[in-house]
């Protein structure tokens, strides 16, 4: 048997689909991209640009198609579907990676205990109606005991015992509890996010908060006349150091007394710097405040009406 003909035919077939280049082409099948890293052939580029571009493109696409057709395929209605590998080229993302969703308290617990969660169907089978009904919501299955026409009453029930109202109350309580837990989970997640986002070390913010708390505590202690001597002590509370009641001597020299009193007077005379910037006109009188006071908060227009006074209603005095 002579196979040389078959071999020759096969070779001819291969020739049509095989591309030979100095540098093998780089194929990124995930992005359907082929990169031809061979340097440009300047001569043919200058000779006939369009023809050169078409030929290089054909060679490149032939290589890409060859690698695409080698991929594992699954048949479908519209023809074979090739399964693509993950792309090798790194492209920047358009948005940051999604943050992991914070676990709810139950999810945390379930995770530590290894409890796996199976999602409930929204519909349940109703034997009576012989149909699927919603588990909750409008005509939901959770309201069955509230709407049924006959309900068994416990033996020792009151005269005015209302089973449907009882069931409704229980359901509303469950709803309220669920809502409360949901809000708590939200708050917990927000707190966690806040502490995480406050630039790197969570510890620094904690330290800062502690310092502020200590400061406030110290202020409250020295705010009583007895310097917190009779305050209730907390467990583990440290004794505040360096705080002592201080009494001015009853007798001082006249010059010291004079200087003290002058200092107080000068303080009274001076307008606080913050107010100075704000108040517009008169230094002595804050007009805005005076009007508000005189008109009992009704404003200048009301004051003018009252004093210029035609009748008006019987004003409240």
């Amino acid at each position: 048997m002579d196979v040389s003909d078959i071999l020759a035919a096969h070779e001819a077939k291969q020739k049509a689909i095989v591309v030979e280049k100095d540098i093998p082409l780089e194929v990124d099948a995930g992005f359907l991209t082929v990169t031809d890293l061979n340097p440009i052939d300047v001569e043919s580029y200058n000779e006939d640009l369009e023809d050169y571009l078409l030929n290089t493109a054909r060679d490149g696409v032939q290589t890409l198609i060859a690698s695409l057709f080698q991929l594992p395929v699954t048949p479908s209605e519209d023809g074979p579907v090739a399964k693509l590998p993950a792309p090798t080229t790194l492209l920047p993302r358009a948005k940051p990676l999604p943050k992991p969703k914070p676990l709810t308290k139950w999810e945390q617990f379930a995770k530590t205990k290894g409890i796996s969660h199976s999602k409930k169907d929204k519909k349940v089978w109703d034997e009576e109606k012989q149909d699927w009904v919603d588990r909750w919501g409008w005509k939901g299955a959770n309201k069955a005991t509230e709407v049924q026409w006959l309900t068994e009453v416990p033996k020792n029930a009151d005269v005015d015992f209302d089973p449907s109202a009882q069931a409704r109350k229980a359901r509303k309580e469950r709803m309220a509890k669920n809502e409360k837990q949901y809000q708590q989970n939200l708050a917990r997640a927000q707190q966690a996010a806040g502490s995480a986002s406050s630039s790197t070390p969570n510890a620094t913010s904690n330290v800062q908060r502690k310092r502020e708390l200590d400061k406030t505590l110290a202020t409250t202690r020295i705010s009583t006349a007895s310097m917190g001597k009779f305050d209730k002590k907390l467990d583990g509370e440290k004794k505040l150091r360096g705080v002592k009641r201080k009494f001015e001597p009853a007798e001082v020299s006249s010059s010291t007394e004079k200087s003290h009193n002058l200092a107080i007077l000068s303080k009274l005379d001076r307008e606080p710097s913050a107010k100075k910037a704000k108040s517009g006109g008169d230094d002595v009188l804050n007009v805005r405040k005076a009007v508000r006071f005189a008109s009992k908060g009704k404003g200048s227009a009301a004051l003018a009406r009252q004093s210029g006074g035609g009748k008006g209603k019987k004003g409240k005095r």
Partner: protein, 344 residues
């Protein structure tokens, strides 16, 4: 100080315009959720913006690029005063408002005629930009051939060694790859391959007279025809489809390294994927996950010495009694006892 105040003002204005919306119904909630970051991202939506004066050539080029990019394209029909290299605040605003992460801006000035700027965004901030000048332009209509179906994915072909070595062209390649094919897809219908976009960088101009040392870039689009070759792989023939654009490279802005680092962050691989050998972790070659999702392993065994293989015991194959006698007396005795018992 004044610039700082201006910055604060602009940011507050932007924040006021883009206030966080609390969804009032399920539909708007779904719409907002669709905008949230995803692990595997959707293709980039591209906004095409005309500057104060775009010119006919750039206008047409943008229109046809948009035709190729559809349906992930938005066109701004009005002219906008936008200078991306000077002030990118409006780009950032548009990006956030339209949930788009790429721009093509057309602007023609006396100094830079027929300019097109590709802008890529990350997290509604400008990542990088590249301005190109449209030199040669031939519309799709001028090629009297069949066109590809809109919405089909193109193949991409880059040709030139400069795409691997020259930083400007590396950036351009990345931008164009993102523009045409940035979506990660897991499968493709082989019949749906209809056209290819070929991007070729010309040779570097070696004459010192030319002021720009950057090569021209030729973008061509061809439709593909598959001819049967007798093998599984068909022979490919290409027909020019248009548009064809010749570009020169102009201004550019490289990505901020810190921002780029963030943008290149990949999601943590799942255990199964690592076993498959994805990611940069070394593939465990003796493990594979089969179609049923079961992990299968292969264990290497040293070559077996068949001479030591225990086969069926037969009298004829036993070592002769003399040898055994020589070796050990007591052992032989035990052997005899055992044989007797077996016979009983």
């Amino acid at each position: 100080m004044s610039t700082f105040r201006a910055f604060i003002l602009t940011t507050t204005v932007i924040l006021a315009m883009l206030r966080t919306i609390k969804p009032k119904n399920a539909r708007s909630k779904r719409a907002l959720e669709a905008r949230e970051p995803k692990e595997v991202e959707d293709p980039r939506t591209v906004i095409f913006v005309k500057g104060t004066h775009a010119g006919e050539k750039v206008d047409h080029a943008m229109k046809e690029l948009m035709a190729l990019k559809r349906p992930h394209a938005i066109s701004f029909s009005k002219k906008n005063t936008v200078r991306p290299f000077e002030d990118a605040t409006s780009l950032e605003f548009w990006s956030q408002k339209n949930d788009a992460s790429m721009f093509v801006l057309g602007q023609s000035t006396k100094k830079r005629p027929d300019g097109m700027t590709f802008v890529r965004m990350y997290d509604s901030r400008v990542l990088d930009m590249c301005e190109v000048g449209v030199e040669g332009w031939k519309s799709m209509q001028e090629f009297k051939t069949a066109k590809a179906t809109p919405g089909h994915k193109p193949l991409l072909h880059f040709a030139s060694d400069l795409f691997d070595t020259h930083p400007r062209l590396q950036q351009l390649k990345s931008l164009l790859l993102d523009f045409f094919n940035g979506e990660i897809i897991d499968s493709i219908c082989l019949k749906g391959i209809e056209y290819v976009i070929s991007i070729t960088a010309g040779p570097l101009p070696d004459s010192p007279s030319t002021s720009s040392e950057l090569p021209k870039v030729h973008i061509r689009a061809y439709t593909t025809r598959f001819l049967s070759s007798g093998t599984r792989v068909p022979r490919v023939e290409l027909t020019p489809m248009g548009p064809s654009i010749d570009l020169t490279l102009r201004r550019h802005q490289d990505p901020d390294p810190e921002l780029l680092k963030q943008a290149l962050r990949r999601p943590k691989l799942k255990k199964q994927d690592i076993e498959k050998g994805l990611g940069n972790k070394k593939k465990m070659r003796n493990l594979e996950v089969d179609e049923m999702g079961d992990l299968r392993g292969r264990v290497h065994l040293a070559k077996q010495d068949l001479g030591k293989l225990q086969t069926r015991k037969m009298k004829g194959l036993k070592t002769s009694r003399d040898d055994a006698d020589e070796s050990d007396e007591s052992d032989e005795d035990e052997g005899q006892v055992r044989r007797k018992r077996r016979k009983v």
